[in-house]
């Protein structure tokens, strides 16, 4: 099967993910359920990592390429960008720093509590 089989596995899992999304109360977007399903299949050993390494490597390597067409659709929103572009950048900058600080400080606090119990470091 080789590389074709690897692509097939990813496609089937992605398709199963979007099928789960047809359940009305299902809380996750299709792509996220596909990712979780793939993780479960790998962790349980139903699918061996070697069976998808090459195809997954391809998709991960070119991930940025796949969302370029979305960015191109900004053409339709040019008036939005003109009106709110500066504010968008301001919101993004400030909240990215806040998110990073909140995550890092929480981890720092928890790790210092943890190291009281054991002194090994990684």
């Amino acid at each position: 099967m080789g590389i074709l089989g690897e692509f097939l596995i990813l496609a089937v899992v992605a398709l199963s993910g979007s099928l789960m999304n047809l359940i009305p109360w299902f809380p996750l977007p299709g792509a996220v359920s596909g990712m979780l399903l793939m993780l479960i299949l790998l962790l349980s050993g139903i699918i061996k990592l070697e069976r998808v390494t090459n195809a997954a490597g391809f998709f991960l390597k070119f991930l940025p390429l796949f969302f370029i067409p979305f960015v191109i659709n900004l053409m339709k929103e040019s008036d939005v960008i003109a009106a709110y572009g500066v504010k968008l950048i301001l919101v993004i900058s400030v909240t990215t720093l806040l998110t990073m600080a909140a995550t890092g400080l929480t981890a720092k606090l928890l790790l210092s509590l943890h190291s009281g119990k054991k002194d090994t470091d990684d």
């Binding site: 692509f7 990813l10 992605a14 809380p27 977007p29 299709g30 792509a31 996220v32 596909g34 990712m35 979780l36 793939m38 993780l39 990592l49 390494t53 195809a55 997954a56 490597g57 998709f59 991960l60 070119f62 991930l63 940025p64 390429l65 796949f66 969302f67 370029i68 067409p69 979305f70 960015v71 191109i72 659709n73 900004l74 053409m75 339709k76 939005v80 709110y84 504010k87 968008l88 950048i89 919101v91 993004i92 900058s93 400030v94 909240t95 990215t96 720093l97 806040l98 998110t99 990073m100 909140a102 995550t103 890092g104 400080l105 929480t106 981890a107 720092k108 928890l110 943890h114 990684d122």
Partner: protein
């Protein structure tokens, strides 16, 4: 005649691949974060189709075939998550709590600040999942009623800002532990932050790449509830 060429899906595919290849080449020569390949290649394509007057629909005949790959690409994100699963097991509480705090702070601060500045509702929704990896941010945004194109651009900007300011911010806050640094970079700035975290060290990179997937799952699960509970959206 020209229209029948540009309406061919291969046209959109060709200029996207060519622009991306050029963008990657520029970035590898001049490593300035703002010259991220997605931004340069998108700018190249936009300039081409605006100057030549090629209809956006003609470009997207091929464009959607490329963006269609995001579905299987998201499934592939499970692979780094699986590879770093030992790291997760070793620090499960620290990792899960920190990423959850980060994801929730990201959504709440973004929506609150965007509303404060008077941004219209669809833009507020488009920004809300901006800290997570693009394929998932786009889906979350679409599900909430945002504009996927604004979300895609915001995610790239978030990553660039995180990668540029991250090392400096972590230093000021005296966050020195590799696990804490990796968590902060991956949760706030997804894959672009992770490539910067990899330059800091192997542990930072491993934790950061784990954070991409976990932050995305937590954001996808919690964003709809946070928006309806706190902001009545």
């Amino acid at each position: 005649m020209i229209d029948s060429i540009t309406a061919n899906p291969l046209f959109g595919i060709c200029i996207t691949l060519a622009a991306y290849a050029l963008g990657v080449k520029i970035y590898s020569r001049i490593r300035i974060s703002i010259l991220h390949p997605v931004l340069t290649s998108s700018a190249i394509i936009l300039v081409i189709i605006i100057l030549t007057g090629i209809p956006l629909e003609n470009y997207q005949n091929g464009g959607w075939i490329i963006s269609f790959m995001l579905g299987p690409a998201t499934v592939a994100l499970a692979v780094p998550l699986y590879r770093q699963f030992q790291v997760l097991k070793a620090h499960v509480v620290v990792i899960m709590v920190s990423i959850t705090v980060g994801a929730v702070v990201s959504i709440i601060s973004t929506v609150a600040f965007a509303k404060l500045l008077g941004l219209p509702a669809d833009l507020v929704l488009s920004l809300s999942p901006k800290s997570v990896t693009t394929p998932i941010a786009i889906e979350v945004s679409a599900k909430l009623g945002g504009l996927p194109s604004i979300t895609a651009l915001s995610v790239v900007f978030t990553g660039i800002i995180g990668a540029v300011t991250g090392p400096w911010l972590l230093k000021i806050l005296r966050i020195n532990h590799p696990t804490a640094k990796g968590l902060a970079m991956g949760t706030a700035a997804h894959a672009i932050g992770t490539s910067r975290a990899l330059e800091m060290g192997e542990n930072e990179g491993a934790v950061s790449s784990l954070s991409i997937g976990l932050a995305a799952i937590i954001t996808a699960l919690s964003a709809p509830y946070i928006l309806s509970l706190l902001f009545n959206i």
